[in-house]
């Protein structure tokens, strides 16, 4: 029950967020959503990564994008969930079932689908597939890669963290030690060092693959953050999915003057009221926007293909400003943002 309530809250909040800054990507043809009567005969299939709906992380974010497209375009959708510890052939079969069932486009959430998608895309040349967080299939014509420049947004929140830190000591809590999360770490470190080159950045990952529990272990997040606070950190960036709530708790327990930074969606809007005021900002990775844009392009009959990169320039990556406390740092962050977009600052994706 709790999970459902949380899910509704996340969905509601994310919809607000979309309404607030969705102007950039919708190119004036939003009339379909206004009436709600325009029905499209597009059927969308979506295969989640392990965790599925309710993970308070990128699966949920993909779900939000899907829900928005569903209510706006009146499309048929089918969502399939993954099981923990499954093999490539199980993932393959899930995509195949969707393609066979007449779903087009079919969206695969997460890089783990890359190998299986490579095989299934060949079997169904008339179906357009989308995959989030992978561009290794960029050259396959019926696969659309939806990828994000997480390091850019992490750079900005790193700079904000360094500005906000009084101790000159900040922390990075990663969910699971994978190349994907290392991109967040890399950006955060570079951003913090761009403001204060002597800053100390503590880096901890909650679990190592194949143990992906680190994305959903608030207790581990809390003790790890507590350890960082004890070692002098006063700003901590949680790139750890559902474990972030534990980091927020530890920061709130440490009291005023300590800040947490959220990830993926605007966690200031979704966190418990007891901790939300401690969430200075969140690094926004708009998986929902990418899913929505992709479906919209299919509904419009001009499906997006190739590699679709989401970064600071198209607001697919951003930082949130819903907590007023971040106002003091916005000028600096926006200046850095301009420099990243113009290419004056190059952010490396590896730590």
């Amino acid at each position: 029950m709790l999970r459902v309530t949380k899910l509704v809250a996340v969905a509601a909040a994310a919809t607000f967020a979309l309404a607030a800054c969705g102007g950039g990507s919708s190119d004036g043809s939003s009339d379909a959503g206004d009436t709600g009567s325009a029905k499209s005969d597009v059927k969308v299939g979506l295969a989640y990564d392990v965790g599925g709906r309710g993970d308070q992380s990128f699966n949920d974010s993909a779900g939000v994008g899907l829900d928005k497209a569903k209510s706006e375009f009146g499309i048929d959708v089918k969502e399939l969930e993954a099981s923990a510890n499954e093999t490539d052939s199980a993932r393959e079969e899930r995509l195949r079932l969707l393609a066979q069932g007449g779903y087009n486009p079919v969206i695969a959430v997460g890089f783990a689908y890359a190998t299986s998608l490579g095989k299934v895309a060949k079997e169904f040349p008339d179906v357009q597939f989308g995959i989030i967080d992978d561009s290794s299939l960029e050259k396959v014509s019926n696969v659309t890669s939806l990828v994000f420049a997480e390091e850019q947004g992490s750079f900005l929140v790193g700079a904000i963290a360094a500005e906000a830190s009084k101790s000159g000591n900040v922390g990075f809590v990663g969910g699971v030690n994978t190349p994907l999360i290392q991109k967040f770490e890399a950006g955060f470190k570079q951003g913090a060092e761009s403001v204060n080159k002597d800053i100390k950045v503590q880096v901890k990952y909650l679990t190592q693959p194949p143990d992906f529990a680190g994305f959903n272990a608030p207790d581990k997040g809390e003790t790890t953050a507590q350890g960082m606070i004890d070692a002098g950190a006063d700003v901590i960036y949680a790139a750890a999915g559902g474990s972030g709530s534990g980091v927020f708790k530890a920061i709130a327990a440490a009291g005023k003057g300590n800040w947490a930074i959220g990830v993926d969606s605007d966690q200031y809007l979704t966190a418990d009221s007891a901790v939300k005021d401690y969430i200075l900002t969140s690094m926004l990775k708009r998986v929902d926007t990418s899913v929505y844009d992709f479906i919209k392009s299919a509904v419009d009959g001009k499906v997006l293909t190739g590699k679709q990169e989401f970064d600071l320039s198209d607001e697919g990556i951003a930082y949130s400003t819903s907590n007023d406390a971040v106002k003091d740092y916005e000028a600096k962050a926006d200046e850095l943002k301009k420099q990243i977009i113009s290419g004056d600052i190059k952010v490396s994706a590896t730590p």
């Binding site: 399939l80 093999t87 199980a90 783990a112 890359a114 190349p179």
Partner: protein, 378 residues
């Protein structure tokens, strides 16, 4: 085959049959309570399983499970609980994949080398737990669980781009260097009309299953193993070196565990990457329990679990949560334990009744014309 044998076989089949019926009943109740028609659900699963591709997937899944369950069962026969199969096969698969990707050899040698590395790594890793038990008295339950965690850390340490891993352009996944064609095992078209082939290593599974049966049931070693497993003191008294047996059986169990990842590695993925399936070792424990640690029973259990895992994929598409099969699997394991206990008690009661009946039989009449010797019917 006399009536007694029939009864014995019947009784030993009764427990798993009882467990499966019970779990089907509970699953049906859960399905019905959630508003789904249980018969329709099972029908869908069976229909889907009959499609050639699904059948091949079920067999492939079972081959992997079979190795895992045999590894656990081998330990069980010696009264050793090897919970570390999970860590043993992951470490074995990772190192075997790294070796396989690094060398180039003629086809059969290449495959042989990869399998050898896998068996050695699995065996040696399990032997650590064996040594700890023999020389330090550490329970293998504790040490193998710990070794699972150490495995995870070790793989995380080794599977980085500056050590054993490579990262494909544009991918967020990392894995060992792909094994070239000479180290791959081609599939067998065992299922007619299926575009998916059955893992070539199914042959190895059959061979290992046969060896398991032969060694346990028909060799001196197997006799010592079973004896030591049932009653350590008695085995020592009859001259069995129990310490040696513990070490050897841990290593053999780990060696079989080393093969768990091989069908997937050599028949499908050709690399050990972040999404290499984990957790199969734990499924193996459930299947070993279900299959009563016999080669044939475990094979049937592996097929059942393979069926449940793969045919459930269709359920999500039809609006039935596929997690329902996890309930089925969980209940099977629980009810197997209960069913064996029930059957065991029934056996004891039946035995007592038999003894009681014979004791209370009126003694043979003392009249001299009855020449039937006492106990001839026994």
């Amino acid at each position: 085959m006399n009536a007694d044998t029939v009864r014995r076989v019947g009784l030993s089949l009764a427990a798993p049959a009882l467990a499966i019926i019970l779990s089907l009943a509970i699953t049906s109740a859960v399905l019905a309570a959630a508003g789904n028609d249980p018969f329709d659900t099972f029908k869908q699963m069976i229909e889907y399983a009959k499609e050639p591709r699904t059948t091949a997937m079920i067999i492939n899944g079972s081959v992997t499970y079979y190795f895992a369950a045999l590894a656990v069962a081998f330990g069980f026969r010696m009264n050793l609980f090897n919970i570390g199969v999970d860590g043993q096969y992951r470490l074995a698969a990772m190192l075997a994949a790294a070796v396989g990707g690094a060398v180039s050899l003629p086809p059969i040698l290449h495959v042989g080398l990869i399998l050898l590395v896998a068996v050695l790594v699995g065996g040696l890793w399990a032997a650590v737990a064996g040594l700890l038990k023999v020389y330090r008295g550490v329970s293998e339950v504790i040490s193998t669980i710990m070794l699972n965690s150490i495995t995870t850390a070790l793989i995380a340490f080794l599977l980085t781009t500056d050590k054993l891993a490579v990262q494909a352009e544009g991918s967020n996944n990392i894995g060992t260097k792909p094994i070239p064609a000479s180290g791959q095992v081609p599939g067998i078209g065992l299922v007619p009309d299926s575009p998916l082939k059955v893992y070539g290593l199914i042959v190895l599974a059959v061979i290992v299953g046969f060896l398991y049966w032969f060694v346990i049931e028909h060799s001196r070693f197997g006799f010592d193993l079973r004896a030591a497993g049932r009653n350590e003191e008695a085995a020592v008294a009859s001259g069995v070196n129990v310490k040696r047996m513990i070490l050897i059986s841990m290593a053999v169990s780990g060696g079989i565990a080393g093969l768990v990842g091989m069908p997937q590695l050599l028949g499908s993925s050709y690399t050990y990457s972040l999404d290499f399936p984990a957790g199969i070792g734990f499924t193996g424990i459930a299947i070993a329990l279900l299959g009563r640690n016999t080669a044939l029973g475990v094979a049937i259990g592996a097929l059942l679990f393979g069926f449940l895992d793969n045919s459930s994929q269709i359920l999500d598409l039809e609006g039935v949560p596929k997690e329902i099969v996890m309930i089925t699997q969980g209940v099977i394991v629980l009810s197997v334990v209960i069913a064996y206990e029930l059957v065991r008690r029934y056996r004891i009661v039946a035995q007592q009744r038999e003894v009681g009946r014979r004791l209370s039989e009126p003694p043979a009449p003392a009249a001299g014309n009855d020449k039937t010797p006492q106990g001839a019917q026994a």
